[in-house]
């Protein structure tokens, strides 16, 4: 059948360039391998020139594929599955980019693009290490290209072609029996971008994180090059800026993900020890361990074997995290793992194709890697740095085990084990001690000199920051209000110890910049990064330990409701317009607005008033309609930021959410004065019926006539209400005005007066639905900004170090 309106040529070109990128990368790899192994310089140069051109072609091809994918999405060519499944017409430009990395194919493309950028920078440096390093990177490009070529060899699917048509994926869907299926409404728009990803952090976080992932290959490639060429020590200085770059960018990418989670997810925090989060943290921690081992080697010729291992494993754990999150193996244990894409075996091979040869080469050459037999001095910087690296590395291994043990164990042995009852505490109770050790080491280690430190001068220098830290930490411990005893006194003590360690890290490093380095910022990168890291620890501890639920429900719980005594009561119900008591705040749900962004988002305006300061502010937590044909909503929290705290809120439940019709009917009662009408939670008595009475809830205009019935409502909990339903005549028109007692779920109308008997007709309805309300959760996060500021300071420190080391290298290292 010939279909109408398809743009097939574009996809064919796209697929061609995907295959081209594979072929070019493969040839570049071969060229660089030949160049590395060549015996004569001329031969090596010739192969290198060949490989460079092919790597360039690879980069061009990858860029073209990405451009075509973007074109398809931005021009809404919904015959393509990529556009149809991941985008919609309503999305603004920045989110069109998010659509690209919503799918596996797009995130692989992003990863490849960064390898292109890094590869070009490396080629441009013209270093002697170009050939072996680029051989490794080109080979990685081959492996990634395989993920997106989407070809079949026999029945085996290799990679996912990003240019598949919707009709190729859902071949038996009936709409494809018509040649103009593209004009059918459901093909006129896409399924949309996942509502949770419609957040500005999701535009910027994935590219940064993938740059971080991609950059781990550079130290790995240098390490491989060293083993391969048997020039074990020559690369460590040249690779140092790359290690610093990787540590800085990966750290930044992870923390941007944390910022996204904090802003748009509702677990009330920035970190949940989710497998996907852990999978990105682990390579970073190992990279940090590798960085320190590399620094030790550059200064003292020790720890080289450890540096090799750390760089191999840091890169490997990037691949492992890819496998873990994309293979579907995590199943129930993660909220945001990818669903199986049918390329599991391929992902497994991808992981092993790097790990096994790298480890084999490492073990084979292990004995030849230089080391120093003589034991290091306990009063030396390298000794304590190494301990720190080791603790970081082992901590990463423990996290890996906790993340991956149950899914892999279950998969292999068909068991049904699951995470412990309190999964986050299982991590926290271990990592708090890691934080204590690392905090102390971060503070102290720089005060040691490499090789040996005169003990008297060490004591003299460390005493000021130590005393200062003890003083500050004691003050914070006593007056800071850290009383988080949910897990007992032991854990609370550990928190206080960790608080001290993080303060010590900050103070000692600031002091080192001022006293040790005499304020010379140019060389202070490490101390700045350590200060930032200390601040991060401090922010994590303060905000987590002092997090507080503000939305204690003490407003309208009715005493005769079922036993809810042991209830966590972390959600508070706000009835529209009703000022409600919420701890130290008054909270009022003012209104909702669902007219924004084509009705896909409902905003709720919640007014808060501080009881002490009388400060008033409004928050707009909202609900985003789910995309991709799903019913229901996702939460999008809102927060008010202060310099020292955040007030964070989201909608747990809204009366508008169910969207179901209110089927409950009004019941008619004919009553005379002083008659009683019963309802589920109490009774009401008709008190008076009057024409234009002076004191009513209603505003009666001069030309209007109103008959107002006044009812006294008495609920079972002995609260009383006045209801005043009315009939209004404005000129010739009459209108009925209902009155409602929201807390009693009743609405009362007054529809008729019988002139002869004096009886009136009351309409009474009891229903929870008619009451507009929201159930809300409100958190107080103190000092979360310390964490964000710490992150910025730490990343700045990495880049200061990078620039400094690069400058040193330029003076010292040879180029070809």
């Amino acid at each position: 059948m010939k279909y109408i309106g398809e743009h097939l040529l574009l996809g064919q070109w796209g697929h061609f360039f995907a295959v081209l990128s594979f072929v070019a990368a493969l040839l570049a790899t071969i060229g660089y391998v030949k160049a590395t192994n060549a015996v004569s310089i001329a031969e090596s140069q010739a192969w290198k020139r060949f490989a460079r051109i092919l790597f360039l072609i690879d980069c061009g091809a990858v860029l073209t594929v990405l451009a075509i994918v973007y074109y398809i999405i931005s021009h809404h060519l919904f015959e393509y599955n990529y556009a149809w499944s991941h985008s919609s017409k309503a999305l603004s430009t920045e989110y069109l980019f998010s659509c690209i990395w919503e799918a596996q194919e797009g995130s692989f493309l992003l990863w490849m693009i960064w390898h292109c950028v890094l590869g070009m920078l490396l080629i441009n440096k013209k270093t002697v290490w170009e050939a072996p390093v680029m051989a490794v990177i080109s080979f990685m490009q081959v492996c990634l290209a395989v993920m997106i070529i989407g070809i079949y060899i026999g029945d085996v699917k290799i990679g996912i072609n990003p240019f598949l048509l919707v009709r190729e994926i859902f071949q038996d869907a009936p709409i494809f029996n018509t040649e103009n299926y593209l004009s059918i409404p459901q093909m006129q728009d896409g399924q949309g971008l996942n509502q949770l990803l419609q957040n500005y952090w999701m535009v910027i976080h994935p590219p940064i994180l993938f740059l971080g992932f991609a950059s781990t290959i550079v130290p790995f490639a240098y390490a491989m090059a060293g083993l391969w060429k048997k020039e074990y020590t020559g690369w460590t200085k040249e690779a140092l800026p790359w290690t610093l770059f990787s540590a800085g960018i990966l750290g930044l990418g992870i923390m941007m993900g944390a910022a996204w989670a904090y802003e748009s997810l509702t677990f009330g925090g920035f970190w949940a020890w989710d497998p996907v989060e852990n999978a990105s943290l682990v390579p970073w921690m190992i990279m940090i361990a590798g960085l320190h081992a590399q620094l030790i080697f550059n200064a003292t010729r020790r720890s080289l074997r450890a540096a090799y291992l750390f760089f191999i494993l840091s890169f490997f754990f990037v691949l492992f995290s890819t496998f873990l999150t994309r293979s579907g193996i995590l199943g129930d244990s993660s909220v945001h793992a990818f669903v199986e894409g049918g390329i599991n075996v391929q992902l497994l091979i991808f992981m092993l194709v790097f790990l096994l040869p790298a480890l084999a080469l490492y073990l084979k050459r292990y004995a030849q890697i230089p080391k120093i037999i003589k034991e290091e001095n306990t009063y030396s910087r390298e000794f304590w740095m190494f301990i720190g690296s080791l603790v970081f590395f082992l901590s990463a291994m423990v996290i890996t085990w906790q993340t991956a043990f149950t899914p892999i164990y279950n998969k292999l042995l068909g068991k049904t084990t699951a995470a412990p009852e309190d999964p986050t505490f299982a991590y926290n109770k271990i990592q708090i001690f890691v934080a204590i050790v690392i905090g102390m080491l971060t503070a102290t280690t720089q005060y040691f000199k490499y090789k040996d430190t005169p003990i008297a001068s060490f004591r003299k220098k460390i005493i000021i920051p130590l005393v200062l830290s003890v003083a500050v930490a004691t003050c914070i411990s006593i007056f800071g209000g850290v009383r988080y005893d949910t897990y007992g006194l032991g854990f609370l003590a550990a928190i206080h110890l960790a608080l001290f360690a993080s303060i010590y890290a900050v103070v000692a490093n600031v002091a080192y910049i001022l006293l040790g380095l005499k304020g010379k910022l140019k060389v202070a990168g490490a101390s700045v990064a350590h200060t930032g890291f200390g601040l991060m620890l401090l922010g994590i501890l303060l905000s987590s330990a002092q997090k507080e639920v503000l939305s204690k429900n003490n407003g309208i719980l009715l005493p005769f409701e079922p036993a809810t005594k042991e209830n966590p009561t972390e959600n508070i119900t706000l009835i529209k317009g009703l000022k409600t008591n919420m701890g130290r705040y008054w909270a009022t749900y003012e209104k909702s607005d669902s007219s924004i962004r084509n009705g896909t988002v409902s905003f709720f305006k919640i007014n808060f008033e501080d009881k002490n300061t009388h400060e008033k502010f409004s928050l707009y937590p909202n609900l985003i309609k789910n995309t991709k044909g799903q019913q229901g909503f996702s939460n999008n929290p809102d927060a008010r930021h202060y310099w020292n705290k955040d007030i964070f809120t989201y909608i747990s439940y809204a009366s508008t959410m169910d969207g179901e019709e209110d089927t409950i009917q009004f019941r008619k009662h004919t009553v005379k004065l002083k008659d009683t009408v019963y309802y589920a939670n109490g009774l009401m008595v008709l008190d008076t019926v009057a024409i234009n009475p002076p004191n009513t809830k209603h505003t009666i205009g001069a030309a209007d006539t109103a008959i107002v019935a006044t009812l006294k409502v008495r609920a079972k909990d002995s609260s009383t209400y006045i209801l005043q339903p009315a009939i209004f005549w404005k000129g010739a028109y009459s209108t009925l005005v209902f009155d409602t007692a929201f807390t009693q779920n009743i609405a009362v109308g007054f529809t008729n007066v019988n002139d002869t008997t004096g009886a009136i007709e009351l309409q009474v309805k009891e229903s929870a639905r008619m009451v507009p309300f929201v159930a809300l959760k409100v958190y107080l996060f103190p000092h979360i900004n310390v964490l964000w500021i710490g992150t910025i300071v730490m990343v700045t420190g990495f880049f200061m170090s990078l620039l400094y080391r690069r400058k040193l290298n330029k003076r010292q290292l040879p180029t070809t």
């Binding site: 499944s85 991941h86 919707v166 994926i169 859902f170 869907a173 009936p174 709409i175 409404p185 459901q186 399924q191 996942n194 129930d332 909220v335 793992a337 990818f338 669903v339 034991e375 290091e376 000794f383 080791l390 603790v391 082992l394 423990v398 085990w401 906790q402 043990f405 149950t406 084990t417 699951a418 995470a419 009852e421 299982a426 271990i430 429900n553 309208i556 719980l557 009715l558 409701e561 809810t564 966590p568 009561t569 972390e570 959600n571 508070i572 119900t573 789910n626 991709k628 044909g629 799903q630 229901g632 909503f633 996702s634 747990s652 009366s655 959410m657 929870a768 009451v771 309300f773 159930a775």
Partner: protein, 135 residues
């Protein structure tokens, strides 16, 4: 032996000890029948909402009180008490992972994980449904 080696060994021993204790604390996925046998023990129940039974949730009265019936693939049912807000999409979820304890014939749920297939990623079946004419 070198100091460093000693430290390495000590830390590795600590790490292994920590891992063993972690592995000892693991919970397990259960069916309703097997959870009933382990009354009082923390388990993760895999089930879904029994739509034939009423779902009791009145957020105006108490937003932190949800009672419903869960049914598992073997057809067993249990009453579930969840002292928290009803999660969004609760009725539409295809599968629930309920974390908590069986107590006095009812499952006291501490928290739950909803499985709406395309909550985070795409669900081919859902996409397929959107391609049918009846849409």
């Amino acid at each position: 032996m070198k100091k460093t080696h000693l430290v390495v060994l000590v830390f590795i021993a600590i790490a292994i000890g920590v891992l063993i204790s972690y592995t000892g604390n693991l919970s397990s996925y259960e069916t309703i029948a097997s959870a009933k046998q382990k009354e009082g023990k923390f388990v993760r129940l895999i089930a879904k909402v029994d739509k034939a039974s009423p779902i009791e949730y009145n957020p105006v009265k108490d937003p932190n009180y949800l009672v419903f019936t869960a049914i598992d693939t073997l057809g067993q049912t249990t009453k579930v008490v969840y002292l928290n807000a009803k999660p969004t999409d609760f009725e539409k979820s295809e599968r629930l992972v309920l974390n908590g304890r069986m107590k006095n014939g009812a499952f006291e749920c501490k928290d739950m994980l909803l499985k709406c297939p395309s909550k985070y990623k795409d669900d081919p079946n859902m996409a397929k449904k959107n391609l049918s004419f009846s849409n």
